[in-house]
């Protein structure tokens, strides 16, 4: 099951809004470690009602995909290496760089 934060982000995006979990943000999630799991502690997304359980459940499948792809992105990013080194690689042999990047993408496909 996708995390509550991911489903909240997708719910907001689907409604052309942005969830901000920062200190002055518009959404605060909380887990009181009582076995009940995370819940929405406060909601102040302008122009968008707090999602119901069914609203969130509607984004569960997409949330799982998003979280899987986040892991893929992270793995790819690490394999790509430092951006400065890549620029040097491109300058020296752009075709070889393309081959290497494609191999990383192929080895780590997104869902």
């Amino acid at each position: 099951m996708a995390s509550l934060s991911t489903k909240v982000k997708l719910y907001c995006t689907a409604n052309s809004k942005t969830a901000d979990f920062g200190p002055e943000g518009n959404v605060s999630l909380q887990d009181d470690s009582d076995g009940k799991g995370p819940y929405i502690a406060s909601w102040s997304v302008s122009g968008l009602a707090q999602p119901s359980d069914s609203d969130l459940a509607a984004h569960d499948t997409a949330g799982n995909t998003e979280e899987t792809n986040n892991t893929v992105r992270s793995t790819r990013k690490a394999a790509y290496g430092d951006i400065g080194d890549q620029l040097d690689e491109i300058y020296k042999d752009i075709d070889a760089w393309k081959v290497r990047i494609k191999a990383i993408k192929d080895a780590n496909p997104k869902s």
Binding site: S3, S5, S28, L29, D31, S33, T68, T71
Partner: protein, 187 residues
């Protein structure tokens, strides 16, 4: 200098008893003990109600971007039995110092923001919030021993808890046994 030998001092009238005057120094000499069995106000409270707690193992499955109650099931000391069920409960009104080591690591994937703060009576205290965000959402944060410190003005039976939050690329976080929470009364 004379010596007054009596077993008890009582006010001549009323209920107020005063010893000395402004500017005087009242000295309890070395080797003597002053024992309080009543209510002490204005002195004798600093350093009392001291506690230190930690985790005995990992606290797992801390959800992404979620203020999560950090649990403590191992007491190093708790001088007045004020700490129980992951919270400190003030035995009396006063000012209390708290500090905590929010030890937390990404169990699945790295993150870009860590935050901790104390909760008073179930509500986050923003003045004790301690947060670090990496610009651009760079997910390179793996493990943190993050310090949260504050002095809170508490009424009797007010309670204080530690909450932490970790924004990760994906997955959950873990708070290892190194997490700790301690405090004492300062006034």
């Amino acid at each position: 200098m004379g010596t007054l030998f009596v077993d008890k001092l009582d006010p001549q009238s009323g209920t107020a008893l005063e010893i000395g005057s402004s500017g005087d120094t009242i000295t309890i000499p070395s080797g003597a003990t002053i024992a309080n069995s009543g209510t002490a106000t204005g002195f004798g409270t600093a350093g009392t109600n001291s506690f230190s707690v930690a985790g005995s193992g990992n606290q797992t499955s801390i959800a992404d971007n979620t203020w999560t109650l950090i649990t403590f099931d191992s007491e190093n000391w708790d001088t007045d039995s004020c700490f129980a069920s992951n919270k400190f409960t003030a035995p009396a009104a006063g000012k209390y110092f708290f500090t905590a080591n929010l030890s937390i690591y990404a169990a699945t994937d790295n993150g870009n923001s860590i935050a901790g703060r104390f909760y008073k009576n179930g509500s986050g205290d923003s003045q004790t919030a301690s947060q670090l965000d990496l610009a651009g959402g760079s997910n390179i944060m793996s493990l943190f021993n993050w310090r949260v410190t504050g002095v809170l003005n508490l009424a009797q039976n007010d309670y204080v808890e530690l909450y932490g939050k970790f924004n990760m690329n994906s997955g959950t976080a873990t708070a290892p046994a190194a997490r700790s929470f301690m405090g004492y009364r300062v006034a």
